[in-house]
């Protein structure tokens, strides 16, 4: 067997080998990283130094537990094994957030409609100032416009608000268009802001809905 600088890897290799050949030899009360040493025939010559290594590792582990830089296999950290020496993984605990006892936004933290509207108007004017409508280019333009407006709105909107940003972009022609929306929400905390822009070849209507999230 080649020299293995990391003692844990040596232990791991031993355990895996032991698990496949001598299942009953392992006792569940002990840690799985310690298979019964005397039963291993071919490695007798290596057993004494490994034994001593194992003991020293045990004492090391008991003294400082899990350091931040330690790279042990995850099952070794949990230290629970079944009869066969295979690890039992602990169930992953779902993080539960503490109750904040808040049911409404704070005093000064409402969705400011005028501010968001000004932001929308400014951004639309900047982004679409002199743009021409084109069938191929306008689809990605609409998408990038929503992303841009959303990021702008996020900066102005208070926390705990979910945002929905909706943009309608169309070619300026002789047609008529109507955009309507309705929301089922809490009128005291939730609202929307909208702005429109038009030039010679295109028009755009942007709406940002802010919904308070409890």
């Amino acid at each position: 067997m080649a020299e293995q600088p990391v003692p844990e890897i040596a232990l791991l290799a031993q355990v895996l080998a032991a698990g496949s050949t001598e299942a009953p030899a392992l006792r569940s009360s002990r840690r799985g990283s310690q298979p019964a040493a005397p039963a291993r025939g071919p490695e007798d010559s290596k057993a004494p130094p490994l034994l001593s290594r194992r003991n020293s590792i045990l004492s090391r582990r008991s003294s400082f537990g899990m350091g931040p830089g330690s790279r042990r296999p995850s099952w070794m950290l949990h230290r629970r094994v079944s009869f066969s020496g295979l690890p039992i993984f602990q169930p992953i605990l779902k993080t539960r957030l503490e109750n904040t006892y808040r049911i409404g936004p704070d005093k000064g933290c409402r969705f400011d409609v005028e501010r968001v509207q000004r932001v929308l108007e400014g951004t639309l004017a900047c982004a679409l100032g002199a743009t021409e409508y084109s069938a191929q280019g306008s689809a990605p333009l609409a998408l990038s416009l929503t992303e841009l407006l959303q990021s702008q709105a996020k900066e102005v909107v208070p926390p705990r608000y979910k945002l929905v940003c909706h943009v309608v972009l169309g070619q300026q022609g002789q047609q008529s268009l109507l955009v309507a929306s309705r929301g089922l929400w809490d009128p005291e905390t939730d609202t929307f802001a909208s702005a429109s822009f038009s030039n010679a070849s295109l028009f755009a209507v942007a709406t940002v809905y802010g919904v308070y999230f409890e």
């Binding site: 333009l141 929503t146 008529s176 999230f213």
Partner: protein, 113 residues
């Protein structure tokens, strides 16, 4: 078992919402031609109908329904939306409908409570 059922009931089911929207559109503007004077009324009824049906589902969601009706005149139209929310619990559904004289695009957004 209870938790699983609660999660099922409180999810935004796109197919269900999509069929609700289609019914609302058909009911409001099903066989009509574009008339400027009636568009206001049509959009209101589409949105109201959709919203009332969504409410009847009884799920713990806040809803936003948007409707765009445009006359067919050869001009192009694009709609886009981006949302800042919780991807696992919130959802959206958009339905495009047209007849000979107009396009109708309805988007429904559901935000979990």
């Amino acid at each position: 078992m209870d938790e699983f059922q609660a999660a099922e009931e409180a999810a935004f089911l796109v197919d269900e919402v999509s069929s609700i929207i289609k019914e609302a559109i058909e009911g409001a503007i099903g066989g009509n031609a574009y008339q400027h004077s009636k568009v206001n009324q049509w959009t209101t009824s589409v949105v109201e109908q959709t919203l009332s049906q969504l409410t009847k589902l009884g799920k713990p969601f806040k809803y936003i329904v948007t409707c765009v009706i445009m006359q067919k005149n050869g001009a192009g139209l694009h709609t886009a939306s981006s949302c800042f929310w919780d991807n696992s619990s919130d959802g959206t559904c958009t339905v495009r409908w047209e007849n000979k004289t107009m396009y109708c695009i309805v988007s429904a957004f559901g935000l979990a409570l």
